[in-house]
């Protein structure tokens, strides 16, 4: 599954996107955040306040308890500041 990062989440992780293969036990967005946080200090720093992180699955905003099964692209980013 492709994972994308934006703004300071991207800067902290040090990459804009990557392909990850989480185990089957990782079923939801917040479980994926917890799993990614264990990939190293950069990830732990990016996800240190999981409540601040927003997520989208296949270009649509989702809540932390959303299932990730079937997702092609999951994105993580801070609260949006456009307009």
């Amino acid at each position: 599954m492709k994972v994308k990062y934006f703004a300071w989440v991207r800067e902290r992780i040090g990459k804009a996107e990557e392909t990850v293969e989480p185990p089957a036990s990782v079923r939801t967005v917040d479980e994926l955040i917890a799993w990614l946080s264990n990939r190293g200090d950069a990830y732990a720093h990016a996800f240190e306040k999981p409540k601040v992180i927003r997520a989208a699955i296949d270009h649509a905003h989702v809540k932390p308890d959303a299932a990730i099964a079937g997702a092609r692209e999951i994105a993580f980013f801070p609260p949006m500041t456009g307009g």
Binding site: K4, F6, A7, W8, R10, A56, H59, A60, H61, A75, F77, P78, P79, M80, T81, G82, G83
Partner: protein, 155 residues
Amino acid sequence: MGMAATIRIQEADFDIAREIAALGQGRTDVGAVVSFTGICRGTEGSEPIAALTLEHYPGMAEAEIKRHADEAMARWPLQGLTIIHRFGRIAPGENIVLVVTASSHRQAAFEAAEFLMDYLKTNAPFWKQEESARGNSWIEARDHDDVAAARWTKS
């Protein structure tokens, strides 16, 4: 409505007059056109800034803005709708975002433009980074923008 919104996400600047004119062109049923232009200010808080850099999520930004444009067209009797959002480096005084609404009725044109701006400020996948003497930093989301956006939620 049968009417399609014009949505553009682009690095280049836009021409407000041309966008306003395009909505009225060749028709005489439009009585009200409202435009909102968001402009890069030279200060953020009380700090002078050199520029903003806008990052966006290509693909999702278009999809999300289109979804909200469709919602605006369903909620208000619009005869035209244009939304342009820039990305990249933007200097103080330069345009960031444009929303233009056309309707037979002024209230509809005003409300739809406000709804879309409140949405763009809180839910469109764009992030602003400011450049100042103290370096670069990401602008934080503001609670009062969330409050503004929440007033459009149907109860």
